[in-house]
């Protein structure tokens, strides 16, 4: 069983986001970078699938990002991933979700893959599009928001359980190869153990560029982006709470309703 995990490095959820001047996106200096938490579930699930399968098969990490992403790649290797492909090329910058999926698909086509695990979304842009587009590009099925996976190695299929509206669960059976978008609750990711850190030293991290994948500059990055970002803005600063004083409950309720309608405009 060959498992590929797509991983994205994102700012720590506790990072205070600041914007660059103009429309340049967020300021990345001083940001603490982490593995996208949903991708961490994907890494853990890949390792567990392999363990349940008697250690058979290879877990390959595919990560697109600049040099700094190596730190997160190393963490995944120390958790137990076998090897990594680091898609690192300035030409990749500015890719939209379609572009990212295209680049990932190209890279994944070059390696054996039965199961492709992704986080269901990245906590930076929360787009939740790459896994599906990736599956389309590879012309294979996908299941998103997966909570549980049971792999039937002999018959090359996976039974998944996913949350759907109303608290219900949907159970799906999917033939492999397929793409899966990991949801919270799938597992409890392990720590990068100390022996794992030592072993990771000798694991392969292959740097791959656009040219290596046969992609031309005009096919990727900003040049090919179908989605153009118009502007970035921070959410409005939180205002101090409003206190409605007064002894008479009816009067207070009346004032609250008035405020909700006229000021907050929520009713």
């Amino acid at each position: 069983m060959n498992i590929v995990v797509c991983m994205k490095q994102v700012p720590d959820t506790e990072t205070k986001i600041r914007l660059k001047e103009g429309n340049g996106g967020i300021q990345t200096d001083g940001v603490k970078w982490i593995i996208n938490p949903y991708c961490e579930f994907a890494v853990e699930e890949a390792l567990r699938i392999r363990e349940r399968n008697g250690g058979q098969g290879t877990v390959t990490l595919v990560c697109m990002g600049p040099d700094r992403a190596v730190e997160s790649i190393r963490t995944a290797l120390a958790m137990g991933v076998d090897k990594a492909i680091h898609l690192n090329d300035p030409l990749f910058e500015g890719s939209d979700n379609f572009g990212v999926a295209k680049i990932l698909a190209r890279a994944i086509q070059t390696i054996p893959h039965d199961i492709i695990l992704c986080g269901k979304q990245a906590v930076d842009d929360d787009a939740s599009q790459v896994p599906q587009i990736l599956a389309e590009q590879l012309n294979i099925p996908h299941v998103m928001v997966v909570e549980k996976m049971e792999v039937d190695v002999a018959n090359k299929k996976v039974t998944t359980s996913r949350r759907i509206e109303g608290g219900a669960k949907e159970v799906l059976e999917v033939p492999l190869p397929a793409v899966f978008g990991a949801d919270k609750g799938m597992n409890e990711p392990r720590y990068a153990s100390l022996p794992g850190i030592m072993k990771a030293k000798s694991k392969e991290v292959k740097k791959v560029t656009a040219a290596d994948l046969g992609l031309k500059p005009e096919e990727i990055g900003v040049a090919a982006a179908k989605v153009k970002i118009q502007a970035y803005s921070l959410p409005p600063e939180r205002q101090a709470g409003k206190k409605i004083e007064g002894g008479d409950p009816a009067q207070v309720a009346h004032e609250l309703a008035k405020w909700l309608r006229e000021e907050a405009r929520v009713i």
Binding site: Y191, A192, L194
Partner: protein
């Protein structure tokens, strides 16, 4: 920051940690914050040394850090080990003590001085965190003046017959403790001084009792023990290293152990600073946050500066050890300095917290208490000064 151009780089001073060391710090920090921090208050209150946490630390690889993988260890360098201790101490001193005593005092003597059979017998389980091992040096009447040891091992009918008592021995009486390395007087040397040797005593040896000590000021969630030996018979094979070399082995073990105590000072100081930093940005007095009062801001600046100086000194000592250079003098200086830095930092951190700093619910209170050990354990500050001044005067 842009590198300065036009300067030829002479020498090879390099303050970068390796990617593995960075990752190690991150991993241990995350582990300590998630697995130890939430329990630290309760375990300290209950004076409980949690075997569950020890096993988790073993699973992570913290219980055999510098031992070679051949014996079940992780094969890390001295600085990596110190970074791990620093990160645990940043959250809780007791747990740092458990790990440091186990690695430095429990495993080290067996690993460095044990024969193949002894290493194979004990190290794998100890490195996995399945078992703990004590280092029985201190006695009611003998600490750094080990020559005054009253514990005696006599060679009788092809066995060691041990009688005596040890005190303040970390990790020596938990439910998973497998035994202790015991320093005992095994005879007289021609010059009249006692001949000191180290003997491995297993927990189930007849006549051997290990009893936990309670009501400590410090490290309340770590196991501290008294050991009693009443005609304890131990086979010849349990002699560690050569007969009569116990004192030398002990000194070497302590040199390494001092780095770990220094790491606890550094990590504890860091933890206390971070608590103070957080609190000073939450609490308001006279209409502004504490941190906006220059007095408090200057406290924080002083704390940070001392911590960075301590870190540089300790890391340099570890670097010397890693390079195989003499490091005893630097270990003593690092131990002296880091433990005193934590004293000043914890003191200010409590001051910044005001009345709340006197309450155990606030981690600074624990940091303040736990610090007190560092100036006493593994050679009091005064003993470090003896070591340092001897090096200084000898070097003239």
């Amino acid at each position: 920051m842009q590198k300065l151009k036009g300067f030829a780089i002479l020498g090879n001073m390099d303050f970068n940690l390796s990617p593995e060391q960075e990752l190690l710090r991150k991993t241990v920090r995350e582990f300590a914050e998630q697995e130890i921090k939430p329990l630290a208050f309760d375990l300290n209150q209950k004076e409980e040394c949690s075997i569950e946490v020890i096993q988790k630390m073993g699973d992570l690889g913290l219980m055999g850090m510098t031992v070679s993988p051949e014996y079940g260890g992780q094969g890390f360098d001295p600085l990596s080990y110190i970074i791990a201790i620093e990160e645990i101490a940043r959250v809780d001193g007791s747990h740092a003590a458990t790990v440091a005593a186990h690695n430095g005092l429990g495993l080290s003597p067996i690993y460095y001085f044990g024969n193949e059979q002894q290493k194979r017998r004990y190290l794998p389980d100890l490195c996995a965190g399945k078992a703990l091992w004590g280092f029985g040096l201190t006695e009611p009447e003998a600490g750094s003046d080990a020559g005054n040891s009253q514990t005696v091992a006599k060679w009788v009918h092809g066995e060691w017959l041990i009688n005596g008592r040890k005190i303040f021995i970390t990790n020596a009486s938990t439910s998973i403790t497998r035994g202790s390395t015991v320093q005992a007087v095994t005879g007289r040397r021609p010059d009249g001084h006692p001949e000191i040797s180290c003997i491995l005593v297993e927990q189930n040896a007849a006549g051997f009792t290990a009893k936990p000590m309670h009501h400590k000021l410090v490290w309340r969630a770590s196991n501290t023990s008294e050991l009693y030996f009443e005609d304890v018979r131990v086979p010849e094979a349990n002699l560690l290293g050569k007969r009569g070399e116990g004192f030398k082995m002990m000194l070497q073990t302590l040199d390494g152990g001092r780095l770990a105590i220094a790491a606890m000072g550094l990590g504890g100081a860091q933890g206390a600073l971070e608590e103070a930093l957080k609190y000073s940005q939450q609490r308001k007095t006279f209409g502004k946050h504490l941190a906006e009062h220059q007095t408090i801001a200057f406290y924080l600046a002083e704390m940070q500066t001392e911590i960075e100086a301590a870190r540089s000194l300790l890391y340099r000592a570890c670097w010397l050890k890693g390079e195989g250079k003499p490091f005893g003098n630097f270990a003593a200086m690092a131990k002296l300095y880091c433990s005193e830095v934590m004293k000043r930092v914890a003191h200010k951190a409590v001051q910044i917290h005001g009345g709340y700093g006197l309450m155990e619910e606030f981690p600074v209170a624990r940091f303040y208490r736990d610090q007190r050990l560092l100036e006493i354990g593994e050679g009091a500050s005064e003993v470090q000064k003896m070591v340092i001044s001897r090096h200084l005067l000898r070097g003239q």
